[in-house]
């Protein structure tokens, strides 16, 4: 099974600052991860982060339509290499001190963190752009399938055209 991780170093030469890319199968503390990341990059003037969490309600719908749980499935031989390749692309495009990408899989409850992306940079604009780019591309290029539990029933969530529009902003 050694092919599972054989493509991690496919990005060419080593970037100046390595990315911290992790997949978690159980819950994590975004604030602890962010604090550690920030402290690890004292030369960065700014850290931009995005935290995605399971919404406690899908919004305008009736109370009976609230999402009770969320499940993310992924295919390990593709997910982690794709996340590493995305991270290398981001480090090559912006001048960052550090990049953090954490993604959950498995079953999550409302309020649970799903994804945490953080970019540390000497310049604010680079940090914002890198975090924004990372989220746009993580959402559209990563191999995650999502099920929501609503009214006791699990249903798969379909792909959205909006994600492709988000990516088009960067080309």
């Amino acid at each position: 099974m050694n092919w599972r991780f054989s493509r991690l170093s496919a990005g060419g030469e080593m970037p100046r600052n390595a990315a911290d890319v992790r997949l978690f199968t159980c819950s994590f503390s975004p604030e602890a991860e962010l604090a550690r990341f920030t402290q690890a990059h004292p030369r960065a003037g700014g850290v931009v982060s995005f935290l995605g969490q399971v919404r406690s309600s899908s919004g305008v719908e009736a109370a009976g339509d609230a999402v009770e749980a969320l499940e993310l499935r992924h295919y390990e031989p593709l997910t982690l290499p794709a996340m590493h390749e995305l991270a290398e692309r981001i480090l090559g495009r912006w001048d960052l001190e550090g990049l953090l990408v954490i993604h959950r899989s498995g079953t999550m409850m409302p309020g649970d963190p799903i994804v945490l992306v953080a970019a540390a940079a000497r310049h604010r604009r680079s940090a914002f752009a890198a975090a924004d780019f990372a989220m746009d591309h993580l959402k559209s290029e990563s191999w995650f399938w999502k099920r929501e539990k609503v009214g006791g029933q699990w249903r798969w969530v379909e792909p959205r055209a909006e994600d492709y529009q988000d990516i088009a902003r960067w080309s």
Partner: protein
């Protein structure tokens, strides 16, 4: 020996399980030909990608499969 098939996302429901062992065959097309017709049709969709041991398969007629290989079927990922 056999092949391991992995069904991601909604394909899991159609296949009845997230994984399945099948008898080995030389190409992806030949593997599909032995499955239930509705499942084979879904897996043959242009929107469903196929990965052999983690690498996307571009030619499903290529006779490249070996016993012990893992074939994953990947429908479009979810939005949101």
């Amino acid at each position: 020996m056999a092949l391991k098939l992995v069904f991601l996302g909604p394909l899991e429901d159609l296949a009845g399980a997230p994984e399945r062992e099948v008898a080995s065959a030389p190409s992806v097309s030949q593997v599909l030909a032995r499955l239930e017709p509705d499942l084979a049709a879904a897996l043959s969709s242009a929107r469903v990608k196929c990965a052999l041991n983690g690498a996307i398969v571009h030619d499903r007629d290529a006779e490249v499969l070996k016993s012990g290989d893992e074939l994953a079927f990947l429908p479009p990922v979810s939005g949101g």
